[in-house]
Amino acid sequence: MTEFIHHIPALIIVIPLLWGFATPLIGRLSKKGMYAWVVTALAITEALTIAQIYLVLTQGTQVYVMGGATYNTTIPPDSGGIPVRIILTVDAFSAFMAFTAATVTLAGGIYSITSEEGTSGESMYYTLLLLMLSGMLGMVMTGDLFNFFVFLEINSLASAGLIAYRVGKGISVEAAFKYAIISSVGALIYLFGVGILYGEYDALNLAMVASRMQFTGLDKVVMALFTVALAMKAGSVPLHYWVPDAYGKAPGAISAILVTASQASLYALFRVCFSLFGLGSNTLTTGWFLISLGLLSMFVGVTMALIQTDIKRLMAYHAISQTGYMLLGVGVGLATLGTAAFSQYGLQAMEGGIFHIINHAMYKGLLFLTAGAVIYRLGTSDLNKMGGLAHNMKYTTVFFMIGALSIAGIPPFNGFASKLMIYESTYLFNPILSIIAIVVSVLTLASFVKVFHSAFMGPKLYDVKEVPKAMLVGMAILTSLIILFGLFPNIAIQYLVGPAAKALANQAAYISSVMGGA
């Protein structure tokens, strides 16, 4: 049994795969059985990600060699000192991202049981959902550059299929077409960069390439390719135009999970900047590049959100804006990496940015689920046609309020905790950045006050019932985590965020976990 815990990293990825492939077969037999089957898979994955966090905290970075003689022979004796197989490298940051992805997917999966009930091809929906989860988990846990591309494509294809799931007279398919084009082009740009790195260093393992990294002119090209591809997939501003379409037209649960899928690309962007290029590159320039992407995303996202009248499009623009906070926080960390300022405020900025990842996944997931609930009952996503929902949909109203207050950074919810860390640390780095971040936060609040007012307040316009229980359970899971992280941010920082930020900043530890003590 003690031996078995080392298989956890592989099991986290492949349990959704096995369960997902079997879902169509189960779906032929019984529908109830299929729901139970899918929820079991999601729950097992969630439990394993929590176990993995414990494993990483107690035993340090975990490696897992796919098909190796044992799980940790990263460099077989007859390979000449080169890691040849596909290696999963799970440090605290990967474990943290895996937990985020699994939690939101669990909530979204339970929510879908009623929200997608009775649609044709339901078993395919759950197969794709589990494939998408597997792709996300693979993206955040793999330690191999090419393997990342494979998981990226698994995730993108499954996501595109799910965005188009409700055909919606072709509009959803149009959004999915856009998303699929952007994803495949982004992935191909990434693959081009991987090819250049392979040609230069004869290796695909991230740690191996990092240990041989010389930062030539060609590597700068690679860095540009990776940054463009991954920032595009993460939905950062100059390349954000697919985000409102894809998030806005997907089913509610899928919009929530797409947020974490974008964050998996964001994870890869950070991983490439810190663990692949690291201190050898000009971290000040790259850091400022991430900061400026973040500022643009924050500002453009929120200003575009203010003028939207479609509830999910509005939330999608806020998702872009919140991605800016993560880029800002981690960008400040990257810009100060290796200097004295890093321990003063750089690490705190990184912690703020990373904490914001999980917070954003929770509250934006919750907001998309409440928007899905409103659309489920009203059949429209137009804010001008809504009103008075607080009279009948009491729980949904409460959940929406918690999500909205959290995204606006109001205490005691979790958005406040991470935003405060970002404000404090960026103020020491450059006061203007901090002021812009606060202004964007105020605009976010204004925008959500508008939504709350037009959708939930006012006279009773529709005679609707509260949404079914399964949808409420999905929302409640995310709400409880929001309140938990909001009330006890120090616990989250001590066990989840702090180790993640330190693991991300420590390139040498990442390399030595695969390459041995050298």
Partner: protein
């Protein structure tokens, strides 16, 4: 110069693909552009692994043991398989879009605004 010919081809094919994606006014042609870009990247990966005079890295009845690198070929194969899936998905989206909109002109397929 002759050794660089594959890389020049990569640039040309990728350029045609990007041109088709950006400026062609038919969604099928956009999909062809994506497919061309895939081919360019695949060609790039395969040419990376070429060693002058090498044979295919298969030991069954091989004429010599001087072989080209197998890893880029494995990568290319994986990338081709993924490319087939992407193309199939995009083309089926085109079919659905045509059924609902009656056109494949991207200027007319524009109900998402804002």
């Amino acid at each position: 110069m002759l050794g660089n010919l594959p890389y020049i081809t990569v640039v040309i094919v990728a350029g045609i693909g990007i041109y088709a994606m950006m400026w062609k006014r038919n969604l099928i042609k956009v999909v062809i552009g994506v497919s061309l870009l895939e081919s360019a990247v695949n060609l790039f990966l395969v040419s990376l692994g070429y060693r002058a005079g090498g044979v295919a890295p298969i030991y069954t009845n091989a004429p010599s043991t001087k072989m080209v690198l197998p890893t880029p070929q494995a990568l290319t194969l994986t990338s081709i398989v993924i490319g087939v899936a992407v193309d199939a998905l995009l083309l089926s989206f085109c079919v659905v879009i045509y059924r609902h909109y009656g056109t494949l002109d991207p200027r007319k397929v524009r109900r998402l605004r804002g």
